[in-house]
């Protein structure tokens, strides 16, 4: 499933977050969305899954406008929001049951898939009987991922999937996403962790001052792999290193 946006603009108060943004993202890729804090990555993801309406512009999924085929597209979309991904009063099992009901899935259709995913991410499944409010950040994130992929979505929008994860859990997530990637599936990942993005993404998009100064393949971005991702990113969003002399003086 391809992802595209046409002339997306979004402002909050007097702050312009997205400025006439357009892009086409082919099917079968993993797109790493990079940018500073407050650059608008989460806003873009929220617009892509229709949680926030843009001031102008439209989102197009697989050639169809989101607005006109909203329910059909939503049913094929998996979302991992940055915050509020779990209802803290429900147990993990109840979360899974609720997600299955929301996507109209019969338990018999996903029994083996669910067991496999749970055993992959969790060592102790008995924890799933406890309220989600008692879970660690990492456990919430992993459960959120399972919920996002429960219905085998063809488009996945993941906002900061690695935040709060220890290195071992992050590796689990990376391998999970690699296993999930297919020709007809698209995954969009927003992250601050360049190391993980480097390992997994096939395409890179840099969001800066409301626009994409770069969007293309991973190889193009890092000049055929000669540069590290970090160097290429800083060239775009912070070309001049800030002077620290004054800082050193006042902190002395």
């Amino acid at each position: 499933m391809s992802l595209a946006a046409r002339n997306i603009t979004k402002t909050f108060g007097q702050l312009q977050v997205l400025d006439n943004l357009s892009f086409d993202f082919p099917s079968g890729c993993i797109l790493g969305l990079l940018g500073n804090n407050g650059a608008g990555k989460s806003t873009l993801i929220n617009i892509m899954c229709d949680l926030i309406r843009p001031d102008s512009g439209e989102v197009i999924i697989n050639g169809e406008k989101f607005e006109t085929h909203s329910l059909e597209i939503r049913s094929k979309m998996g979302v991992l929001p940055e915050t509020g991904l779990l209802n803290t009063d429900l147990s993990g099992k109840e979360q899974l049951e609720f997600a299955a009901l929301l996507y109209g899935i019969k338990p018999s259709d996903i029994g083996e898939q669910l067991d496999t995913m749970l055993n992959y991410f969790f060592d102790d499944l008995s924890l799933l009987s406890r309220r989600c409010g008692t879970y660690s950040t990492g456990m919430r994130k992993k459960l959120g991922l399972i919920l996002a992929f429960l219905h085998k979505p063809t488009v996945a929008l993941l906002d900061e999937p690695f935040s709060g994860l220890d290195p071992a859990s992050a590796r689990l997530v990376i391998n999970f996403l690699k296993s999930y990637q297919r020709e007809d599936r698209s995954i969009l990942i927003s992250s601050h962790n360049l190391s993980y993005v480097q390992q997994i993404s096939t395409h890179i998009a840099v969001l800066h001052e409301g626009t994409f100064p770069f969007m293309g393949t991973h190889e193009d971005f890092t000049e055929d792999g000669r540069n590290q991702l970090e160097n290429s990113l800083f060239e775009l969003i912070m070309p001049n290193e800030k002077d620290t002399n004054d800082l050193k003086r006042v902190l002395a």
Binding site: F12, L15, N37, D50, L51, E72, S75, V79, T83, H151
Partner: protein, 468 residues
């Protein structure tokens, strides 16, 4: 491979799921066993009250039944509004994720069920279920009217509390909304009882039609409020004069809450006891006319303990106490809390004493004068003790309300306090004012001690969360 999701999930199954999980949350929603036991004991007490109410309806003659009917019905809003003792109110008020493949109306309906099916609603349903099933021989009107009252009051109660919470955390103009729409709906609820009591309408059907209109009005009010507060929350976070406007990602949720708080809506807490005061007077005055002392006592029974516990635990005491403990500036104001704790028993004693005086035939007109003189100082005391805090304390109060620690109150202590209040009610009506006032002071002290004990355990954790 295509997604295995279907385009049309079963709304029926989703509704059953929401109701089932909500019920479990209310009965055993916390990891605190004592609190869960307290809840169950409270429900048992409520069942006894329901049976007593049904018995009154069954044994009364036709002339008195209308009065008993309206008194029993008035218990429903009293129970629902006063059941904030176990608050489960949280923002956001949505159980269905915004990206779920459901039409907007279905999402709204599921969220409505989730938000309205709260402890007070469950207590109301238990009360209605037992009472109406025991009196089924007298027709369906009690059930129909009661059900509409439960929906209407729950919607009204949730909308009011949500607005207060949103106003505290995001600084929206909650009070204006409350005064405009909430007051209109409250008057509508009051009118229903007044019309019933004075037989201004002619048939049960017309009463029910009125109640239906009122219920629709309350649900519209709820929908409007939820929409407004959610929009206002988003605008507030991103507004230009908030810290979060320029670098959302770098501002933690806690500090964002603290800095976006613009004004307090503490005066709302003055309206709650005032509302209870009116209901209390209403019941006592009506009871004086036609009811036997025992029946009147049974009907007035749940009001006092629910009111007392509600105001102490959900009202100002818990949150201000915790805020005072946390903030260095707040610690200087600690003694205000103790003074503030006095005003509630004073007010409640005043209400109960007046009723008791009327019962015992010792009521004189100057009692009303004393009563009226008592109201302004206690109101001012409560305002001064709970509102005039430094900004930092107010910010912490807002955060306290957003945490789960507020639910850690021991259920057993809550239940013991409720029992104490029952006992005080008995003493008041029997005329033992001295003993009753002593007992009220004792209850007040116990409450303060228990709250302090509960909060001390959690405040270090909260402090860490706030300053991280």
């Amino acid at each position: 491979m295509e997604s295995i999701a279907r385009n049309k999930p079963s709304l029926y199954r989703l509704t059953i799921f929401v109701l089932r999980t909500r019920l479990r949350l209310i009965i055993s929603g916390t990891d605190n066993t004592a609190l869960n036991i307290g809840r169950i004991l409270l429900i048992i007490g409520l069942i006894f009250y329901s049976i007593a109410s049904a018995a009154i309806l069954l044994v009364s003659d036709d002339a008195q039944r209308s009065l008993y009917y309206v008194l029993i019905m008035s218990s429903i809003p009293a129970i629902i509004i006063s059941s904030g003792v176990f608050p489960v109110l949280k923002l956001p008020s949505s159980v269905v994720p915004g990206y779920a493949p459901l039409p907007g109306k279905q999402v709204g309906m599921l969220n409505l069920i989730y938000n309205l099916f709260r402890p007070g609603t469950l207590y109301g349903l238990i009360f209605l279920g037992v009472t109406s099933s025991l009196t089924y021989s007298q027709g369906p009107w009690l059930f129909i009217d009661g059900l509409m009252l439960i929906i209407a009051t729950s919607a009204l109660d949730f909308a009011v509390k949500q607005t207060v919470l949103a106003a505290q955390t995001h600084g929206i103009r909650g009070l204006k909304l409350l005064i405009a729409a909430g007051a209109v709906n409250s008057v509508g609820l009051g009118l229903y009882f007044v019309m019933y009591f004075f037989e201004m309408l002619t048939s049960p059907l017309i009463y029910s039609m009125y109640l239906l209109l009122f219920t629709i009005s309350c649900v519209i009010y709820y929908t409007y409020t939820v929409e407004l507060t959610e929009t206002a929350s988003t605008t507030s976070i991103f507004s230009n004069d908030s810290v979060g406007s320029k670098s959302i990602g770098s501002v933690s949720a806690a500090s964002r809450l603290a800095y976006t708080r613009k004004h307090s809506t503490k005066p709302m807490y003055l309206l709650i006891p005032a509302f209870n005061l009116i209901i209390g007077l209403y019941i006592y005055f009506l009871a004086e006319e036609t009811m036997s002392e025992v029946f009147a006592l049974m009907l007035a029974f749940p009001l006092l303990p629910f009111t007392y516990v509600h105001n102490n635990f959900w009202g100002f005491f818990r949150e201000t106490w915790l805020a005072v403990r946390l903030s260095p500036a707040g610690r200087k104001t600690k003694w205000r809390i103790f003074l503030g704790a006095v005003w509630l028993p004073l007010l409640l004693d005043a209400v109960s004493s007046l009723g008791a005086l009327i019962y015992s035939g010792q009521f004189r007109l100057y009692h009303v004068g004393i009563y009226l003189l008592l109201i302004p100082p206690v109101m001012l005391l409560s305002y001064w003790s709970s509102l005039r805090f430094p900004r930092k304390v107010n910010a912490l109060i807002a955060i306290n309300q957003m945490t789960t620690f507020r639910n850690n109150t021991s259920g057993i202590s809550s239940f013991v306090i409720v029992l104490f209040c029952y006992f005080i009610s008995f003493l008041m009506v029997l005329g033992s004012y001295g003993i009753a006032i002593t007992a009220a002071v004792l209850v007040c002290s116990l409450t303060a001690w228990q709250i302090q004990k509960c909060e001390v355990n959690s405040h270090y954790k909260l402090q860490a969360e706030f300053y991280k």
